[in-house]
């Protein structure tokens, strides 16, 4: 049974649960609903929830866990002696997966796959016909693993369908059995809703944990192949896909920080000052069109900023600043990327700061003005200090954005990993190198590829540290207003 059909059946059961639960509650008090603890729909609702939600959770959990179990089983059937030269068991597993998927597809079309399994040649051509292209004919152990994978998959699917339906029916029965006039269906629905909401927030948290875990595992893998001290302290970045690469993160980290710092030097004063203008001086009508106009900047795709850097800002800086001053003649430079990135993050600073400045109570401004302070003295000495925690948060958010930015750097700053102080020289950042290491034509187990994960993890730690600093600052200096 397909997942879609199964879901429909469970939903049907839930609707039935709603109708029956409601009827039962009304019937028990012979139509006088004042005798019920809750209104009739609550009895229906809690029954429907008890029917559908646990069953759907089971399906979700099963689908997540299933591949792990199945693949382990199939992997154990692959004979290491039969592996072709240069191929790891993981690569063979990829074939197994594709063959299994192809066979499932053929079966779904109504073909008889029995004879194909006996002859590898026929299988290969049949799969080719179905759009699944294999490099070589599948070996017997691959076929055995495929068969095991498909068998286990079918069994598991069947078991899941049965278990989900049983759970739904059990939920339905349990829900109906609890209905009586004293049953607090309204409160139970409330509690159920709370758990549901909590589970949703858990999804985000678990996803983060999952991402970090995958980064961590691959990074550990990388550090087994490549010394960590070299990675963190070497000043040379020179990947060679034949082996013998130097993979020092320092030049990349330097480039990242250099570009981000320039971006913040551009964005923080401009963003903050425009926020102050908007919040304190601009009339309502001015604000109504200036604020959206600034926020449009945040909606421009970064690749468009990249084009702007490549075509306009880069050559401009080279022709009017770098070349005349004898500072170099490269149109890709840290300066170009930093300036353009600075423009990109202006709305993060200005829009957030504007909201925060607006949230400072008017009574503080009145107090300061009432003492004979000018508006600018009031802003400098009262409003900004009161809004500071939020402003710091806005700046650090902008910093995180700048550190994680890729496209503008590729097009504005180039791809040469260099440790240099000259802002008119081409440099590159961590993100750019992650992209270039993963878009090569290499296998996925070499240090040259896996280094991307270590880079990603470093970047993640960097932004995490920034966020923690922001949080600490906000906590420490937060003022309580009524």
């Amino acid at each position: 049974m397909s997942i879609g059909l199964l879901s429909l059946i469970i939903l049907g059961l839930a609707i039935a649960g709603y109708v029956i639960g409601r009827r039962k509650a009304v019937a028990q008090v012979e139509g006088d609903i004042r005798k019920l603890h809750s209104l009739p729909p609550f009895y229906g609702r809690i029954t429907a929830l008890l029917t559908a939600v646990p069953a759907f959770f089971l399906i979700a959990a099963w689908l997540l866990a299933q591949p792990l179990f199945l693949e382990n089983k199939a992997l154990s059937l692959i004979n290491p002696a039969e592996l072709p030269a240069g191929k790891s068991a993981e690569l063979v597993m990829a074939d197994v997966r594709r063959v299994a998927a192809g066979l499932n597809m053929l079966e779904a079309r109504g073909d008889d796959v029995g004879p194909l399994l006996a002859s590898p040649t026929a299988l290969k051509s049949a799969l080719n016909g179905a759009g699944v292209v294999l490099e070589t004919e599948p070996t017997p152990s691959t076929l055995a693993a495929t068969a095991a994978l498909r068998d286990a998959g079918a069994t598991s699917r069947l078991a899941m369908t049965g278990a989900a339906l049983l759970l739904a029916l059990a939920g339905l029965a349990f829900g109906l059995s609890r209905i009586n006039p004293e049953y607090r269906a309204r409160n139970a629905t409330e509690r159920f809703a709370m758990w549901l909401l909590m589970a949703s927030s858990l999804v985000a948290v678990l996803t983060t944990v999952g991402i970090v875990a995958s980064l961590l595992f691959e990074s550990i893998h990388f550090f087994r192949l490549y010394p960590a001290s070299e990675f963190f302290f070497s000043t040379v970045w020179k990947p060679q896909f034949g082996g013998g690469s130097s993979l020092g993160i320092l030049p990349l980290l330097w480039g990242t920080l250099y570009v981000s710092v320039i971006a913040l030097i551009v964005a923080v004063p401009i963003g903050l000052m425009s926020a102050i203008y908007l919040a304190e001086y601009a009339s309502r009508s001015t604000r109504a069109w200036v604020k959206p106009a600034i926020e449009i900047l945040a909606g421009i795709p970064t690749i468009v900023y990249g084009l702007f850097a490549l075509v306009t800002v880069g050559p401009l800086l080279r022709d009017y600043f770098a070349s005349p001053l004898g500072l170099g003649n490269s149109s890709s430079s840290v300066m170009t990327a930093g300036l353009v990135m600075g423009i990109m993050v202006i709305p993060f600073v200005s829009s957030l700061s504007d909201d925060i400045i607006n949230a400072v109570p008017q009574s503080l401004r009145d107090g300061s003005l009432g003492l004979g302070a000018t508006p600018s003295e009031t802003i400098k000495q009262v409003v900004i200090p009161a809004a500071l925690p939020g402003i710091v948060g806005a700046v650090l958010l902008a910093a995180s954005r700048a550190i994680g930015e890729t496209m503008i750097v590729v097009m504005g700053a180039g791809a040469a990993a260099k440790l240099s102080l000259d802002p008119f020289e081409a440099m590159t950042t961590v993100t750019v190198k992650i992209v270039s290491q993963l878009t090569g034509d290499t296998e996925f187990a070499s240090p040259e590829t896996l280094v991307a994960f270590a880079l990603g993890l470093t970047l993640f730690c960097l932004t995490l540290a920034l966020n923690i600093v922001a949080l600490v600052i906000v906590r420490k200096y937060r003022e309580q207003y009524e």
Binding site: G367, G370, P385, A386
Partner: protein, 264 residues
């Protein structure tokens, strides 16, 4: 506590602020109509009246705080020691240093207690060195009857004080610029009775140095602290005179209805 102190003691008869035919408009809404008021020096003047009668609006005209509201327009003449405060040559910022203000809700700045009081003297350059500033801060906190409670924690944030202490801090902050007139917009409405009594006592002491104008909803408070009382109703100044006379022998029937609790 000085309860229902109705006898009048008007010490000086110098007129500090004089309003003649003052009009205030919010857009097209005529909020204050033909108000004539004389604020005497070294006297506490109370503005009473039902909510929305314009007493706070009029108070805010006296130091041009209404300038911060774009739709607000003031006509007629309001003079401080004979000079119009709405004259284009008058700098509202300088004016507000001469006419201080204390607000309804305590609004200490997010700074230390010391910096809250030192704020005005610092921006106006009233002191030449740290020692003078320390002296001003101490004397203002003493005048505001707060010194003994905060002298050991001057660097603690002003927002950490209790409501009554915060309001006394705001009064200390307002008198630190040595204003000639102190405007108070319902200074006790957010305070409990004990803090209210402290602030009222303070107002009575401040009278020896400043002219004080206080807006209040409490007629007992007006009777306790003020020497002169103005009754506002629907944007008009109904009656203005010595506090004792207003509360014991009002001339206008509306005043009588209000103070006896029939309108308002």
């Amino acid at each position: 506590m000085k309860d229902q102190r109705l006898e009048t003691r008007v010490d000086t008869q110098t007129i500090k602020i004089e309003a003649r035919k003052a009009q205030v408009y919010y857009g097209t809404n005529h909020a204050i109509k033909d108000v004539d008021v004389d604020i005497m020096d070294k006297t506490v003047t109370a503005f009473i009246g039902p909510s929305g009668c314009g007493k706070s609006t009029f108070l805010r005209c006296l130091n041009r705080m209404n300038d911060t509201i774009p739709s607000c327009r003031v006509e007629g003449s309001i003079t401080l020691e004979g000079e119009s405060i709405y004259d284009p040559r008058v700098d509202p910022v300088q004016l507000r240093a001469r006419i201080g203000m204390v607000f309804q809700k305590p609004n200490p700045f997010p700074k230390s207690i010391y910096d809250n009081v030192a704020y005005g003297p610092k921006i106006h350059g009233l002191t030449r060195n740290k020692a003078e500033l320390d002296a001003i801060v101490e004397s203002c906190l003493r005048k505001a009857a707060l010194w003994n409670e905060v002298k050991d924690r001057l660097q603690a944030p002003g927002t950490g004080l209790s409501g009554g202490q915060q309001q006394r801090l705001c009064i200390a902050r307002a008198i630190a610029t040595s204003p000639e007139v102190l405007l108070m917009d319902e200074p006790c409405s957010a305070l409990d009775p004990i803090a209210t009594a402290q602030v009222e006592e303070l107002i009575d002491e401040l009278r020896s140095q400043f002219s004080v104008v206080i807006v209040t909803h409490s007629m007992q408070q007006a009777a306790r602290v003020s020497q002169r009382t103005a009754f506002f109703h629907l944007g008009n100044l109904v009656e203005f005179g010595e506090t004792g006379q207003i509360f014991t022998n009002p001339k206008d029937p509306r005043t009588e209805s209000y103070i006896s609790g029939r309108i308002g």
